[in-house]
Symmetry: C2
Subunit: 226 residues, 2 copies
Amino acid sequence: LISVTNLRKVYSSGDEVEVVALKDADLTIEHGEFVAIMGPSGSGKSTLMHIFGCLDQPTEGTYLFDGIDVGGLSDDKLAEIRNKKIGFVFQQFNLLPRTSALDNVILPLLYNREFIDREKARLALDRVGLSERYHHHPSQLSGGQQQRVAIARALVTEPTLIMADEPTGALDTKSGDEIMAIFQELNEEGKTIILVTHELYIAEHAKRVIFLKDGEIVSDKRLKNR
Amino acid sequence: LISVTNLRKVYSSGDEVEVVALKDADLTIEHGEFVAIMGPSGSGKSTLMHIFGCLDQPTEGTYLFDGIDVGGLSDDKLAEIRNKKIGFVFQQFNLLPRTSALDNVILPLLYNREFIDREKARLALDRVGLSERYHHHPSQLSGGQQQRVAIARALVTEPTLIMADEPTGALDTKSGDEIMAIFQELNEEGKTIILVTHELYIAEHAKRVIFLKDGEIVSDKRLKNR
Ligand SMILES: Nc1ncnc2c1ncn2[C@@H]1O[C@H](COP(=O)(O)OP(=O)(O)OP(=O)(O)O)[C@@H](O)[C@H]1O
Ligand SMILES: Nc1ncnc2c1ncn2[C@@H]1O[C@H](COP(=O)(O)OP(=O)(O)OP(=O)(O)O)[C@@H](O)[C@H]1O
Ligand SMILES: [Mg+2]
Ligand SMILES: [Mg+2]
Protein backbone atom coordinates (compact mmCIF):
# COMPACT_ATOMS: atom_id res chain seq x y z
CA LEU A 1 0.00 0.00 0.00
CA ILE A 2 2.78 2.39 0.96
CA SER A 3 6.24 2.39 -0.57
CA VAL A 4 8.75 5.20 -0.01
CA THR A 5 12.28 5.37 -1.41
CA ASN A 6 15.01 7.89 -0.53
CA LEU A 7 12.40 10.06 1.16
CA ARG A 8 13.76 13.44 2.23
CA LYS A 9 11.91 16.39 3.77
CA VAL A 10 13.56 19.73 4.39
CA TYR A 11 11.74 22.68 5.91
CA SER A 12 13.26 26.03 5.02
CA SER A 13 11.77 29.16 6.54
CA GLY A 14 13.11 32.11 4.56
CA ASP A 15 16.59 32.99 5.76
CA GLU A 16 16.39 30.67 8.74
CA VAL A 17 18.63 27.63 9.04
CA GLU A 18 17.00 24.72 7.25
CA VAL A 19 15.62 21.80 9.23
CA VAL A 20 16.13 18.38 7.68
CA ALA A 21 13.12 16.61 9.17
CA LEU A 22 13.55 13.36 7.19
CA LYS A 23 16.94 12.34 5.81
CA ASP A 24 16.69 9.26 3.61
CA ALA A 25 13.79 7.01 4.42
CA ASP A 26 13.08 3.68 2.71
CA LEU A 27 9.99 1.85 3.88
CA THR A 28 7.24 -0.43 2.64
CA ILE A 29 3.90 -1.06 4.37
CA GLU A 30 1.55 -3.71 2.98
CA HIS A 31 -2.25 -3.67 2.97
CA GLY A 32 -3.64 -4.87 6.29
CA GLU A 33 -0.57 -4.16 8.38
CA PHE A 34 -0.69 -2.64 11.89
CA VAL A 35 2.38 -0.45 12.37
CA ALA A 36 3.49 1.72 15.31
CA ILE A 37 6.01 4.53 14.79
CA MET A 38 8.03 5.66 17.81
CA GLY A 39 10.93 8.00 18.45
CA PRO A 40 12.08 11.13 20.29
CA SER A 41 10.27 14.46 20.13
CA GLY A 42 11.27 16.16 16.87
CA SER A 43 12.53 13.00 15.19
CA GLY A 44 10.24 13.36 12.16
CA LYS A 45 7.25 11.15 13.01
CA SER A 46 4.49 13.68 12.23
CA THR A 47 6.37 14.76 9.11
CA LEU A 48 6.43 11.14 7.88
CA MET A 49 2.74 10.72 8.73
CA HIS A 50 1.77 13.86 6.80
CA ILE A 51 3.61 12.61 3.71
CA PHE A 52 2.02 9.13 4.02
CA GLY A 53 -1.40 10.74 4.50
CA CYS A 54 -1.00 12.81 1.29
CA LEU A 55 -1.10 16.03 3.31
CA ASP A 56 2.40 17.09 2.37
CA GLN A 57 4.94 16.37 -0.37
CA PRO A 58 8.53 15.22 0.19
CA THR A 59 11.44 17.46 -0.87
CA GLU A 60 13.12 14.47 -2.58
CA GLY A 61 12.40 10.80 -3.05
CA THR A 62 9.44 8.75 -4.20
CA TYR A 63 6.15 7.89 -2.54
CA LEU A 64 3.98 5.22 -4.14
CA PHE A 65 0.51 4.99 -2.61
CA ASP A 66 -1.41 1.94 -3.82
CA GLY A 67 0.99 1.82 -6.77
CA ILE A 68 0.46 5.47 -7.78
CA ASP A 69 3.34 7.96 -7.70
CA VAL A 70 1.97 10.62 -5.36
CA GLY A 71 4.66 13.15 -6.25
CA GLY A 72 3.14 13.73 -9.67
CA LEU A 73 -0.44 14.36 -8.53
CA SER A 74 -2.45 17.57 -8.52
CA ASP A 75 -3.82 18.97 -5.26
CA ASP A 76 -7.34 17.92 -6.30
CA LYS A 77 -6.24 14.36 -6.94
CA LEU A 78 -4.40 14.24 -3.59
CA ALA A 79 -7.51 15.53 -1.82
CA GLU A 80 -9.58 12.85 -3.53
CA ILE A 81 -7.26 10.09 -2.28
CA ARG A 82 -7.32 11.55 1.22
CA ASN A 83 -11.08 11.83 1.38
CA LYS A 84 -11.82 8.41 -0.10
CA LYS A 85 -9.14 6.20 1.34
CA ILE A 86 -7.50 7.72 4.41
CA GLY A 87 -8.73 8.62 7.89
CA PHE A 88 -6.27 10.90 9.73
CA VAL A 89 -6.17 11.64 13.47
CA PHE A 90 -4.00 14.73 13.95
CA GLN A 91 -1.62 15.16 16.89
CA GLN A 92 -3.37 18.42 17.75
CA PHE A 93 -6.81 17.15 16.71
CA ASN A 94 -7.50 20.11 14.32
CA LEU A 95 -11.19 20.34 15.19
CA LEU A 96 -13.31 23.23 13.92
CA PRO A 97 -13.65 25.47 17.00
CA ARG A 98 -17.16 26.92 16.49
CA THR A 99 -18.63 23.56 15.53
CA SER A 100 -20.28 20.83 17.58
CA ALA A 101 -18.70 17.41 18.03
CA LEU A 102 -21.37 15.96 15.74
CA ASP A 103 -20.76 18.45 12.94
CA ASN A 104 -17.00 18.00 13.25
CA VAL A 105 -17.53 14.26 12.65
CA ILE A 106 -19.97 14.81 9.75
CA LEU A 107 -17.48 16.99 7.86
CA PRO A 108 -15.58 14.18 6.03
CA LEU A 109 -18.92 12.82 4.77
CA LEU A 110 -19.64 16.28 3.30
CA TYR A 111 -16.28 16.35 1.51
CA ASN A 112 -17.02 12.96 0.04
CA ARG A 113 -20.42 14.24 -1.12
CA GLU A 114 -21.82 11.14 0.45
CA PHE A 115 -25.29 11.15 1.78
CA ILE A 116 -24.69 13.02 5.03
CA ASP A 117 -25.60 10.34 7.47
CA ARG A 118 -26.17 11.96 10.87
CA GLU A 119 -26.89 8.53 12.28
CA LYS A 120 -23.47 7.29 11.12
CA ALA A 121 -21.82 10.30 12.81
CA ARG A 122 -23.71 9.66 16.05
CA LEU A 123 -22.66 6.02 16.03
CA ALA A 124 -19.02 7.03 15.51
CA LEU A 125 -19.22 9.31 18.57
CA ASP A 126 -20.97 6.57 20.59
CA ARG A 127 -18.17 4.15 19.71
CA VAL A 128 -15.59 6.43 21.37
CA GLY A 129 -17.78 7.00 24.44
CA LEU A 130 -19.11 10.47 23.57
CA SER A 131 -22.85 9.80 23.27
CA GLU A 132 -23.46 12.56 25.82
CA ARG A 133 -21.37 15.20 24.04
CA TYR A 134 -22.82 15.44 20.49
CA HIS A 135 -23.59 19.15 20.74
CA HIS A 136 -20.60 20.36 22.73
CA HIS A 137 -18.11 22.58 20.94
CA PRO A 138 -14.39 21.76 21.39
CA SER A 139 -13.95 24.41 24.12
CA GLN A 140 -16.70 22.62 26.08
CA LEU A 141 -14.87 19.30 25.92
CA SER A 142 -11.98 17.93 27.94
CA GLY A 143 -8.66 17.27 26.16
CA GLY A 144 -9.33 13.58 25.93
CA GLN A 145 -12.86 14.17 24.66
CA GLN A 146 -11.53 16.40 21.87
CA GLN A 147 -9.08 13.67 20.96
CA ARG A 148 -11.91 11.17 20.78
CA VAL A 149 -13.92 13.47 18.46
CA ALA A 150 -10.86 13.56 16.18
CA ILE A 151 -10.76 9.74 16.23
CA ALA A 152 -14.47 9.44 15.47
CA ARG A 153 -14.05 11.88 12.56
CA ALA A 154 -11.23 9.76 11.11
CA LEU A 155 -13.34 6.59 11.28
CA VAL A 156 -16.73 7.81 10.06
CA THR A 157 -15.97 7.33 6.34
CA GLU A 158 -14.76 3.76 7.03
CA PRO A 159 -11.39 4.39 5.33
CA THR A 160 -9.07 1.54 4.32
CA LEU A 161 -6.02 3.30 5.77
CA ILE A 162 -6.15 4.82 9.25
CA MET A 163 -3.31 7.11 10.31
CA ALA A 164 -3.29 8.24 13.91
CA ASP A 165 -0.68 10.64 15.32
CA GLU A 166 -0.51 9.98 19.10
CA PRO A 167 -4.22 8.95 19.30
CA THR A 168 -4.08 8.17 23.02
CA GLY A 169 -1.82 11.07 24.06
CA ALA A 170 -4.57 12.83 26.01
CA LEU A 171 -6.31 9.68 27.28
CA ASP A 172 -6.17 7.83 30.58
CA THR A 173 -5.17 4.17 30.38
CA LYS A 174 -8.72 2.81 30.29
CA SER A 175 -9.90 5.16 27.51
CA GLY A 176 -6.63 4.44 25.66
CA ASP A 177 -7.32 0.69 25.86
CA GLU A 178 -10.83 1.25 24.48
CA ILE A 179 -9.44 3.15 21.49
CA MET A 180 -6.78 0.49 20.85
CA ALA A 181 -9.52 -2.18 20.94
CA ILE A 182 -11.31 -0.26 18.16
CA PHE A 183 -8.11 -0.11 16.08
CA GLN A 184 -7.50 -3.83 16.59
CA GLU A 185 -11.06 -4.65 15.46
CA LEU A 186 -10.61 -2.51 12.34
CA ASN A 187 -7.28 -4.21 11.61
CA GLU A 188 -8.94 -7.64 11.96
CA GLU A 189 -11.48 -6.44 9.35
CA GLY A 190 -8.56 -5.80 6.97
CA LYS A 191 -7.93 -2.07 7.48
CA THR A 192 -4.35 -0.84 7.51
CA ILE A 193 -3.39 1.03 10.68
CA ILE A 194 -0.35 3.28 11.12
CA LEU A 195 -0.04 5.06 14.43
CA VAL A 196 2.54 7.22 16.17
CA THR A 197 2.89 6.77 19.90
CA HIS A 198 5.43 7.45 22.60
CA GLU A 199 4.02 4.78 24.88
CA LEU A 200 5.43 1.28 24.50
CA TYR A 201 2.31 -0.45 25.89
CA ILE A 202 0.30 1.20 23.09
CA ALA A 203 2.87 0.23 20.45
CA GLU A 204 2.60 -3.38 21.66
CA HIS A 205 -0.96 -3.53 20.26
CA ALA A 206 0.59 -3.22 16.77
CA LYS A 207 2.33 -5.99 14.82
CA ARG A 208 5.40 -4.02 13.79
CA VAL A 209 7.31 -1.16 15.43
CA ILE A 210 9.44 1.37 13.55
CA PHE A 211 11.81 3.70 15.44
CA LEU A 212 12.81 7.12 14.08
CA LYS A 213 15.73 9.21 15.33
CA ASP A 214 16.86 12.52 13.79
CA GLY A 215 14.86 11.93 10.62
CA GLU A 216 16.13 8.40 10.00
CA ILE A 217 14.64 4.95 10.50
CA VAL A 218 16.92 3.27 13.05
CA SER A 219 14.92 0.13 13.74
CA ASP A 220 12.04 -1.82 12.14
CA LYS A 221 10.83 -4.98 13.89
CA ARG A 222 7.93 -7.41 13.79
CA LEU A 223 6.47 -7.95 17.26
CA LYS A 224 6.46 -11.57 18.44
CA ASN A 225 3.14 -13.24 19.27
CA ARG A 226 1.18 -10.69 17.20
CA LEU B 1 -1.07 27.12 50.01
CA ILE B 2 -4.26 25.70 48.53
CA SER B 3 -7.39 24.91 50.51
CA VAL B 4 -10.72 24.08 48.85
CA THR B 5 -13.96 23.20 50.64
CA ASN B 6 -17.20 21.91 49.09
CA LEU B 7 -15.90 22.88 45.66
CA ARG B 8 -18.51 22.53 42.93
CA LYS B 9 -18.26 23.45 39.24
CA VAL B 10 -21.22 23.27 36.90
CA TYR B 11 -21.00 24.18 33.22
CA SER B 12 -24.32 25.18 31.73
CA SER B 13 -24.44 26.00 28.03
CA GLY B 14 -27.74 27.75 27.41
CA ASP B 15 -30.55 25.24 27.09
CA GLU B 16 -28.15 22.28 27.03
CA VAL B 17 -28.12 19.72 29.82
CA GLU B 18 -25.77 20.95 32.54
CA VAL B 19 -22.45 19.22 33.13
CA VAL B 20 -21.40 18.87 36.76
CA ALA B 21 -17.64 18.82 36.27
CA LEU B 22 -16.75 18.90 40.00
CA LYS B 23 -19.21 17.67 42.63
CA ASP B 24 -17.98 18.37 46.15
CA ALA B 25 -14.22 18.57 46.46
CA ASP B 26 -12.35 19.08 49.72
CA LEU B 27 -8.60 19.28 49.46
CA THR B 28 -5.57 20.92 51.04
CA ILE B 29 -2.15 21.29 49.45
CA GLU B 30 0.73 22.71 51.54
CA HIS B 31 3.64 24.85 50.32
CA GLY B 32 6.40 22.74 48.84
CA GLU B 33 4.28 19.70 48.02
CA PHE B 34 4.60 17.68 44.79
CA VAL B 35 1.17 16.39 43.82
CA ALA B 36 0.02 14.33 40.82
CA ILE B 37 -3.66 14.31 39.79
CA MET B 38 -4.91 11.32 37.80
CA GLY B 39 -8.25 10.05 36.57
CA PRO B 40 -10.33 9.15 33.51
CA SER B 41 -10.86 11.45 30.56
CA GLY B 42 -13.58 13.95 31.50
CA SER B 43 -13.30 13.36 35.26
CA GLY B 44 -12.67 17.06 36.06
CA LYS B 45 -8.87 17.31 36.28
CA SER B 46 -8.42 20.34 34.00
CA THR B 47 -11.44 21.99 35.62
CA LEU B 48 -9.83 21.60 39.05
CA MET B 49 -6.49 22.88 37.73
CA HIS B 50 -8.12 25.99 36.21
CA ILE B 51 -9.78 26.83 39.53
CA PHE B 52 -6.51 26.26 41.45
CA GLY B 53 -4.64 28.38 38.91
CA CYS B 54 -7.10 31.29 39.37
CA LEU B 55 -8.20 30.96 35.74
CA ASP B 56 -11.78 30.09 36.60
CA GLN B 57 -14.17 30.46 39.53
CA PRO B 58 -16.11 27.63 41.19
CA THR B 59 -19.92 27.57 41.03
CA GLU B 60 -20.07 26.85 44.79
CA GLY B 61 -17.62 26.29 47.59
CA THR B 62 -14.54 28.08 48.86
CA TYR B 63 -11.02 28.38 47.53
CA LEU B 64 -8.35 29.83 49.80
CA PHE B 65 -5.07 30.55 47.99
CA ASP B 66 -2.26 31.46 50.36
CA GLY B 67 -4.94 32.26 52.94
CA ILE B 68 -6.90 34.62 50.65
CA ASP B 69 -10.49 33.84 49.62
CA VAL B 70 -10.19 33.82 45.84
CA GLY B 71 -13.96 33.88 45.31
CA GLY B 72 -14.17 37.47 46.40
CA LEU B 73 -11.43 38.86 44.16
CA SER B 74 -11.68 41.12 41.12
CA ASP B 75 -10.41 39.95 37.75
CA ASP B 76 -7.43 42.31 38.04
CA LYS B 77 -6.47 40.92 41.43
CA LEU B 78 -6.80 37.35 40.13
CA ALA B 79 -4.58 38.22 37.15
CA GLU B 80 -2.01 39.71 39.50
CA ILE B 81 -1.86 36.49 41.56
CA ARG B 82 -1.56 34.43 38.40
CA ASN B 83 1.23 36.51 36.92
CA LYS B 84 3.24 36.82 40.12
CA LYS B 85 2.86 33.45 41.76
CA ILE B 86 1.70 30.79 39.32
CA GLY B 87 3.22 29.19 36.23
CA PHE B 88 0.62 27.25 34.21
CA VAL B 89 1.29 24.67 31.50
CA PHE B 90 -1.96 24.18 29.56
CA GLN B 91 -3.12 20.80 28.26
CA GLN B 92 -3.35 22.30 24.76
CA PHE B 93 -0.31 24.58 25.28
CA ASN B 94 -2.19 27.78 24.25
CA LEU B 95 0.81 29.28 22.44
CA LEU B 96 0.41 32.45 20.34
CA PRO B 97 0.38 31.15 16.77
CA ARG B 98 2.10 34.01 14.90
CA THR B 99 4.82 34.35 17.51
CA SER B 100 8.26 32.77 17.83
CA ALA B 101 9.09 30.32 20.62
CA LEU B 102 11.26 33.01 22.22
CA ASP B 103 8.53 35.67 22.19
CA ASN B 104 6.00 33.16 23.51
CA VAL B 105 8.30 32.57 26.48
CA ILE B 106 8.99 36.30 27.01
CA LEU B 107 5.27 37.11 27.28
CA PRO B 108 4.81 36.40 31.04
CA LEU B 109 7.76 38.71 31.76
CA LEU B 110 5.92 41.47 29.82
CA TYR B 111 2.75 40.95 31.86
CA ASN B 112 4.76 41.24 35.03
CA ARG B 113 6.30 44.48 33.73
CA GLU B 114 9.58 42.97 34.68
CA PHE B 115 12.67 43.89 32.82
CA ILE B 116 12.15 41.82 29.68
CA ASP B 117 15.12 39.56 29.96
CA ARG B 118 15.68 37.91 26.57
CA GLU B 119 18.59 36.03 28.08
CA LYS B 120 16.30 34.55 30.76
CA ALA B 121 13.87 33.44 28.03
CA ARG B 122 16.68 31.85 26.01
CA LEU B 123 17.92 29.98 29.08
CA ALA B 124 14.38 28.70 29.76
CA LEU B 125 14.21 27.32 26.19
CA ASP B 126 17.72 25.82 26.51
CA ARG B 127 16.64 24.05 29.69
CA VAL B 128 13.90 22.18 27.83
CA GLY B 129 16.19 21.30 24.92
CA LEU B 130 15.02 23.94 22.42
CA SER B 131 18.17 26.01 21.94
CA GLU B 132 17.88 25.43 18.19
CA ARG B 133 14.25 26.55 17.91
CA TYR B 134 14.14 30.09 19.36
CA HIS B 135 12.72 31.66 16.21
CA HIS B 136 10.36 28.94 15.06
CA HIS B 137 6.65 29.65 15.23
CA PRO B 138 4.36 26.95 16.71
CA SER B 139 3.40 25.60 13.27
CA GLN B 140 7.12 25.05 12.62
CA LEU B 141 7.53 22.95 15.75
CA SER B 142 6.70 19.34 16.48
CA GLY B 143 3.95 18.57 19.04
CA GLY B 144 6.46 17.79 21.75
CA GLN B 145 8.47 20.94 20.96
CA GLN B 146 5.33 23.08 21.33
CA GLN B 147 4.70 21.41 24.67
CA ARG B 148 8.22 22.24 25.78
CA VAL B 149 7.77 25.92 24.79
CA ALA B 150 4.66 25.95 27.01
CA ILE B 151 6.72 24.49 29.86
CA ALA B 152 9.53 27.04 29.38
CA ARG B 153 6.94 29.84 29.40
CA ALA B 154 5.51 28.59 32.72
CA LEU B 155 8.95 28.52 34.32
CA VAL B 156 10.52 31.77 33.09
CA THR B 157 9.04 33.96 35.88
CA GLU B 158 10.33 31.48 38.49
CA PRO B 159 6.86 31.10 40.08
CA THR B 160 6.36 29.55 43.52
CA LEU B 161 3.48 27.36 42.28
CA ILE B 162 3.80 25.38 39.07
CA MET B 163 0.67 23.80 37.62
CA ALA B 164 1.13 21.50 34.66
CA ASP B 165 -1.79 19.85 32.85
CA GLU B 166 -0.38 16.70 31.17
CA PRO B 167 3.11 18.25 30.67
CA THR B 168 4.58 15.11 29.12
CA GLY B 169 1.53 14.10 27.05
CA ALA B 170 3.28 14.80 23.72
CA LEU B 171 6.77 13.71 24.79
CA ASP B 172 8.72 10.50 24.28
CA THR B 173 9.94 8.80 27.44
CA LYS B 174 13.41 10.38 27.42
CA SER B 175 12.13 13.97 26.92
CA GLY B 176 9.46 13.25 29.56
CA ASP B 177 12.15 12.17 32.04
CA GLU B 178 14.12 15.37 31.35
CA ILE B 179 11.05 17.49 32.10
CA MET B 180 10.30 15.52 35.29
CA ALA B 181 13.93 16.05 36.39
CA ILE B 182 13.36 19.82 36.04
CA PHE B 183 10.18 19.62 38.13
CA GLN B 184 11.96 17.58 40.79
CA GLU B 185 14.81 20.13 40.96
CA LEU B 186 12.30 22.97 41.35
CA ASN B 187 10.49 21.04 44.09
CA GLU B 188 13.77 20.49 45.92
CA GLU B 189 14.23 24.29 45.77
CA GLY B 190 10.91 24.65 47.59
CA LYS B 191 8.50 25.25 44.70
CA THR B 192 5.05 23.66 44.88
CA ILE B 193 4.26 21.42 41.92
CA ILE B 194 0.79 20.18 40.91
CA LEU B 195 0.57 18.18 37.73
CA VAL B 196 -2.08 16.20 35.90
CA THR B 197 -0.94 13.05 34.16
CA HIS B 198 -2.45 9.85 32.84
CA GLU B 199 0.86 7.98 33.07
CA LEU B 200 1.62 6.22 36.34
CA TYR B 201 5.40 6.32 35.86
CA ILE B 202 5.15 10.13 35.62
CA ALA B 203 2.91 10.31 38.71
CA GLU B 204 5.52 8.28 40.61
CA HIS B 205 7.90 11.27 40.44
CA ALA B 206 5.46 13.11 42.74
CA LYS B 207 5.07 12.64 46.50
CA ARG B 208 1.29 12.37 46.58
CA VAL B 209 -1.27 11.09 44.06
CA ILE B 210 -4.91 12.19 43.95
CA PHE B 211 -7.43 10.28 41.83
CA LEU B 212 -10.55 11.95 40.38
CA LYS B 213 -13.58 10.11 39.00
CA ASP B 214 -16.78 11.80 37.79
CA GLY B 215 -15.89 15.09 39.45
CA GLU B 216 -15.08 13.59 42.85
CA ILE B 217 -11.84 12.82 44.69
CA VAL B 218 -11.86 9.06 45.13
CA SER B 219 -8.34 8.53 46.46
CA ASP B 220 -5.55 10.66 47.97
CA LYS B 221 -2.31 8.89 48.94
CA ARG B 222 1.26 9.73 49.93
CA LEU B 223 3.75 7.79 47.82
CA LYS B 224 6.14 5.64 49.84
CA ASN B 225 9.87 6.32 49.57
CA ARG B 226 9.28 9.84 48.25
N1 LIG C 1 -17.14 24.85 28.87
C1 LIG C 1 -17.73 23.66 29.11
N2 LIG C 1 -19.06 23.50 28.92
C2 LIG C 1 -19.66 22.30 29.16
N3 LIG C 1 -19.02 21.21 29.60
C3 LIG C 1 -17.68 21.30 29.81
C4 LIG C 1 -16.96 22.52 29.56
N4 LIG C 1 -15.65 22.30 29.85
C5 LIG C 1 -15.54 21.01 30.24
N5 LIG C 1 -16.77 20.41 30.22
C6 LIG C 1 -17.08 19.04 30.62
O1 LIG C 1 -16.65 18.89 31.99
C7 LIG C 1 -16.10 17.59 32.19
C8 LIG C 1 -14.72 17.72 32.83
O2 LIG C 1 -13.84 18.31 31.94
P1 LIG C 1 -12.27 18.40 32.24
O3 LIG C 1 -11.65 19.15 31.10
O4 LIG C 1 -12.04 18.94 33.60
O5 LIG C 1 -11.84 16.86 32.21
P2 LIG C 1 -10.39 16.18 32.35
O6 LIG C 1 -10.40 15.32 33.54
O7 LIG C 1 -9.33 17.23 32.25
O8 LIG C 1 -10.33 15.25 31.07
P3 LIG C 1 -9.10 14.86 30.09
O9 LIG C 1 -8.29 13.83 30.81
O10 LIG C 1 -9.84 14.27 28.90
O11 LIG C 1 -8.35 16.10 29.76
C9 LIG C 1 -16.07 16.90 30.83
O12 LIG C 1 -17.08 15.91 30.81
C10 LIG C 1 -16.34 18.00 29.82
O13 LIG C 1 -17.16 17.56 28.73
N1 LIG D 1 7.05 24.02 9.16
C1 LIG D 1 8.25 23.74 9.72
N2 LIG D 1 9.30 24.58 9.55
C2 LIG D 1 10.50 24.30 10.11
N3 LIG D 1 10.77 23.23 10.86
C3 LIG D 1 9.76 22.36 11.09
C4 LIG D 1 8.44 22.57 10.54
N4 LIG D 1 7.65 21.54 10.95
C5 LIG D 1 8.42 20.72 11.71
N5 LIG D 1 9.69 21.21 11.80
C6 LIG D 1 10.81 20.59 12.49
O1 LIG D 1 10.99 19.28 11.92
C7 LIG D 1 11.35 18.36 12.95
C8 LIG D 1 10.43 17.15 12.91
O2 LIG D 1 9.12 17.53 13.27
P1 LIG D 1 7.97 16.46 13.52
O3 LIG D 1 6.73 17.23 13.82
O4 LIG D 1 7.91 15.50 12.38
O5 LIG D 1 8.50 15.68 14.80
P2 LIG D 1 7.81 14.53 15.68
O6 LIG D 1 8.68 13.33 15.61
O7 LIG D 1 6.38 14.37 15.28
O8 LIG D 1 7.90 15.12 17.15
P3 LIG D 1 6.86 15.03 18.40
O9 LIG D 1 7.03 13.67 18.98
O10 LIG D 1 7.38 16.11 19.31
O11 LIG D 1 5.48 15.29 17.90
C9 LIG D 1 11.29 19.10 14.29
O12 LIG D 1 12.61 19.33 14.74
C10 LIG D 1 10.57 20.41 13.97
O13 LIG D 1 11.13 21.51 14.69
MG1 LIG E 1 4.60 14.80 16.20
MG1 LIG F 1 -7.91 17.70 30.83
